[in-house]
Every structure is written in structure tokens, then in C-alpha cells.
Symmetry: C2
Subunit: 329 residues, 2 copies
Amino acid sequence: MSVRLPKKILVTGGAGFLGSHLCRRLLAEGAEVTCLDNLFTGSKRNIGALTANPAFTFVLHDVTQPYRGQFDEIYNLACPASPIHYQKNPVETVKTSVLGMINMLDLARDTGARLLHTSTSEIYGDPLVHPQVESYWGNVNTIGIRSCYDEGKRVAETLAADYRRAYGVDVRLVRIFNTYGPNMHPQDGRVISNFAMQALANAPITIYGDGSQTRSFQYCDDLIEAMVRLMAKPKAELDAFCERHGLGTPVVNTGNPGEYTIRELAEKTLALLPDSTSRIVYAPLPGDDPKRRKPDITLAKELLGWEPQVPLDEGLAKTIDYFRTTFSK
Amino acid sequence: MSVRLPKKILVTGGAGFLGSHLCRRLLAEGAEVTCLDNLFTGSKRNIGALTANPAFTFVLHDVTQPYRGQFDEIYNLACPASPIHYQKNPVETVKTSVLGMINMLDLARDTGARLLHTSTSEIYGDPLVHPQVESYWGNVNTIGIRSCYDEGKRVAETLAADYRRAYGVDVRLVRIFNTYGPNMHPQDGRVISNFAMQALANAPITIYGDGSQTRSFQYCDDLIEAMVRLMAKPKAELDAFCERHGLGTPVVNTGNPGEYTIRELAEKTLALLPDSTSRIVYAPLPGDDPKRRKPDITLAKELLGWEPQVPLDEGLAKTIDYFRTTFSK
């Protein structure tokens, strides 16, 4: 009878919004999880429930510095992901994307670990193609105030593709579209956390523009499911996938193609908090408002047999419940 | 009577094709020049004539490692620039662009030096706008085989813009279009060096496709003139320039908008080498052939009072003369 050792898995950015859900999921599957985080936007609160598990280890570490260890799998999530955070120190944001990627690719190359990197729909910039497919190259300003995130994430993809070609590193990328859920940062400036925190504080819910602009919202558990499935794919299957689709490296979009107007989202938020005295107010659209993006998830469906399962009403209820229990007095 | 000290200037990539011309020009103006190069694509041959000048210092150094020194001005040119070179070690190419830029920006920030960075028309990728203007965002594949150069150069621009905004570093960028002249690498795979070396070896001159595709060719001295003029601009004038044109950081295209077909270039090359027995042959166009690009130089004209002065016939004669005297037996 053979003994199967638990998988050893490294999660960078593991104390962040998405990282914390991933750590929880991997622990539930019996893995030994090392969570790396510098706690710039991540929080001990997000992993509080995990620390009692002996299979979980938290390491306070910044991925711009090399990190060594023996792991079967590396999930590279570390990077501030909301404009309010990544613009605070744009230079550090670029370094986190670029040096963090180099350090994790070096680790994967040197130890034979498999690596999944979380890229972003932001690499498509202000897209000229709708919905976005993986073969679309994007439309990004190199020298604007959001560029530190977008261009840092773009060159991280480039590095992943080059390590795969040059050193045979077993990489795979997800391009994550707008995602929400419990453990979101309450002050990240995103519309779901904004609305929830405003409604809980009985403050006005601010809609920029007339609220008819649409957004897609992916619940965190759906994304984690896609990531775990992608990590499980053998390299040979991914090589064939790239060949079939003319992609320079294995990459799939993960997002929810369902579209809702911002006004619908505000109304749903208020409906879930019937005691709130908040009212919707309208303000002018700022100049650098994130552009409309909607994922084409054909490739994720084909490769992973995956599509989002959690309806907005259900995910929003869980998210608002998290904000209520965590942040309201 | 006041004594004016000579300017101290650092040129990274100073033993390369363009770097060597820049060093020569700066020495001629009375500057003290420190030339940094790792000699991966640069060559001691290019700077041989300069080493006797006591105002010139060569330092064998790789810009991916920090470098310290007191300089008034830094010209950051270091990076392999032809596909044949930058694809040889794509990971190192990204590191040269990114870490080299960070190291030079750190040096500029810490010492108050002014920094001119050489970006490239490659950041426009396969452009959807003709001719290319500085406000065009480009069309670049993040995960292709040329991405290491294109995306590395893009994020270097981002870093420059962010150091300017965050730390007030006095940066300025040139986006260099196709440039040629003496000291080009004979095996860089570019069309001018290919044709010249083929004609000198009495080998067939290979045209890919039917030769009707056009290219723009900027003579090196024209570029160096633009760079020196841009470096001389006071920060306040550049700030106003950015404001006026809605640019996130000071940047100008430098290139020659004149267009020639590849067949014309082959014929001009043969006309300049009447003893060559080479004949033109045609081969199929490869899949990743560099796309047509043509600079819009309106902004360089406005800001620098500059436009290219050297006609193709004159520049080509000097270039072929260089290849003949340097490489033919």
C-alpha cells in the first residue's frame, strides 16, 4: 500500500482577498499550504480561521525578494489589485509584478514546481474588441497613471511565456476579470465594496454617471474553482491547447460574462440591507473610469469544463453579510 | 572669471551601435563620458577610437546590476535591440530593460542626474494607426516570441513615467524608429546590414516577399542630434510640453518619415558596390516579419526644432563604406 504525501503548495499574496479563499480551498483538499504575504493590502483577518490548521504556514515576505522552498505547486497572486492601492506606490507595484514573477519563475525552474500566475483583464486595457478573447493583444497606455499595474502585469505574462519557452517551466496563466466576495478590502474603491460599505454606514450610495454602464461580476468561489482546475492540467494537455489556439503560453480568461448595470447593483445592495437608510445619489463620471470589459470564456469552458455557477444575488448576499459581520459595529 | 567644469555623462550601452556614436559626440562637445557596457552586443571595436581620450572611461558592467556614480546626465541605451540578439536570451532581455531602467532611475533619483531613456517604435507593436503618433498606445502581443523586447521596453517607459511622478526624476524618452549607420552589428539580421554584408561577400541579396514593402531609415547622426537636443531641454519646458499634448511623460518619436521599398534599398546597395557580383533573389515572407511603421515626427519638430538631415543615399554610402573597411578582407 503506497502512502500519498500531501501536496506542498505555495500561495503568494495568500492573505489577500483571493489568496485567502485559495488557501482555504487547498487546505480543504488536504494540501500543506505556505502563505506568503507582505500584508500591504492583504490582512491577517483574512487568514485568521486558517492559522489553527497545522498544514497552514504564514510567512511575512515581500515577493520582490527571492524566496526558496520545495513546493509541488506555486500560485502567484501577490500584487495590489485596486487602483487606490496600486497607485499609492506605482514603482513598488511594477516591482511586485516583475520581480515577484521573476523570483517565482526562478523558484519553479530551480525546483521543478508547477506555477499558476494570476494575470488580469487589465492587460486588455481599454479594449477595442468585445467581448475579450485570449488572442486579443489589448490597448494599454504605457505612461498613464494606471500603467504601473497594467504594464507590470503585461510583462509578467511575457516573463512566464519566456521561462516556459527557454527553460521549460510548467506555467499557466489566468486573466481574472472583476471578482468579488467576502474578504474584499473594504476600502479598495471598487463598486461592490463601495456600495456595501456606504449602505452599511447609512451613507449615500454614489453612482458615477447615470448608472446605465454595465459591469461583469465573478464570485470568488467560481474563480478559485477555475484556478484549481487549471493547476491540475498536465503540461502536455496545455501544450496541445496552446498549439490548437495559436497561443504563446497557456492562458484562459476567468470571469462572469453576465452583465449588470451599476444602478441594478446599487438597488440589489439596498434590497439586501432593508434596514439601511441610504439613498442613491449621482455624481459626474471621473475621467479615468475603468472601461467596460466582458470576458469571452469559451476557452475556459473547453479546457476546464468550467463556467461560473454563483448567481449575483447569491454572491452579493454572502459578500454583504461578510461586510456587515466584519465591519459594522 | 568662473571656471566651467566639464559635464559628467553616463552612457549605458555605450559600446553599442548607437551608444558609440553618442559617446563620440558628447566627447566632441567637451564632456567627460563614462561608457557602461556588458559587451553582449556592443563591441570594443566601436569605441576603439575613443579610448585614447582621457575624458573617456569604459566600464564593463551589466545594467541589471546597480551602478553608482556622480553624473550630470544619464543616457540609458543598454538593451539588445535586434530580434536575433534579444531572442537569444529573452529572460535576460526583459531584465535588461526592467532592472536596467530601475537601476538607472534609482541612480538619477539619488544623485539628481537628468535621465534620457531610449525607447523604441516597437512599443507600438503592429500598429493600427499610421503614421504613429506619441499618443498612440500600440498593439503588442504579451506572450509572443518578440514580446520580451516589446513588453520590456513598454514597462521601462512606465517606470520612467512613475519615477517622474512619484520622485520628480527629470526623465525624457525617445522612441527610436529604424536607424542605421556605421557600427551596426554585421550579424544583427536587419535589412541594411544583411544587404551590405551579402553584397560585400558577393552572395545573393535576399529579399523576403516581392520587395514592394516599405521601410523608413534614420541615419544614426540624425538620431544622436535629436537625443542631445532633448537632453538639453529644461524640465519646466518638458512639463509644459506634456501638459500641452496630454502625455504622461516627456516623449518624442525620432525617425525618418521617408519611405523606401526593400527593392529600392537592395538596388541602392548594389549601386554603391559596383564590383559586387551579387544578384537579388526572392524568398517567401516569414510569419513574424516586422510590420510597417512610419514615425510622425511633428512633436520632435515642435519641441526640438529637429528633423532628419541625412538623405538615404548619403547615409547608406557611409554605412557600406564602414562595412567594407571593417569586415571585408
